[in-house]
Symmetry: C2
Subunit: 129 residues, 2 copies
């Protein structure tokens, strides 16, 4: 039970740290760049990869979003002109998602906001500088 409370403490600090960062990210990405955190993360996954074409499913794999949430997130990004959805010829069930030029720009801008916020919250303890 000593270990129980230790575990709970770790969970609480993990949770509160996460929420502190997430809330601020959500707010500032929205205010300054008109992006949801999920939208930013999605763009980020699309751009941080050599091959700039990814199927929905591949995206979903390393994101915390459910399949339906991702589908709608991509729909929003497309509506905003930040990504394009194209049918996959090999397997016509699949959908390729590619960032547009505007998407790349928006991501670059938003990234600065993200870095600033992360620095603010995560910098103090440079576990492995």
């Amino acid at each position: 039970m000593g270990s129980d409370t230790g575990m709970i403490d770790r969970w609480r600090s993990l949770s509160s740290c996460y929420h502190a960062v997430a809330c601020q990210l959500e707010r500032e990405l929205q205010d300054d760049h008109d992006l949801t955190m999920s939208e930013y993360e999605t763009l980020d996954r699309l751009i941080g990869v050599e091959c700039e074409k990814r199927r929905m499913q591949d995206l979903a794999a390393d994101m915390y979003l459910s399949q339906s949430a991702l589908s709608r997130t991509v729909a929003r990004l497309e509506k905003g002109g930040l990504v394009e959805r194209t049918l996959c010829q090999d397997d016509r069930r699949g959908v390729f998602v590619t960032p547009t030029e505007a998407g790349v720009r928006r991501h670059a801008e938003a990234r600065r906001t993200q870095l600033a916020i992360l620095a603010q919250h995560l910098e103090p303890q440079p576990a492995h500088a």
Copy 2:
């Protein structure tokens, strides 16, 4: 920029760890105890304290929930018979929230689920056993 990517990595692992735990908590608390994670957390804050009377505002203070979300969470708990809301006599704007007997029981049951899940995810790295 080396430090940037380190920071981003830390954020990603924080985020993915949080979501892994949170998703499972959300699901199992719901399925086994008919509780939202927020509802459980609220009960937890009410019970983990000697003085068993807390104003909404005090609750909100050490929770990640917004004021409105907390208000509705407490409303749901009350509807489910797990807490009671009573007017605060000193300051009649305030509201005291107290767990009912059923609330205490439900919390105790749910706590076992929580501990099991936390152990599963957080135990592997006993940073300070």
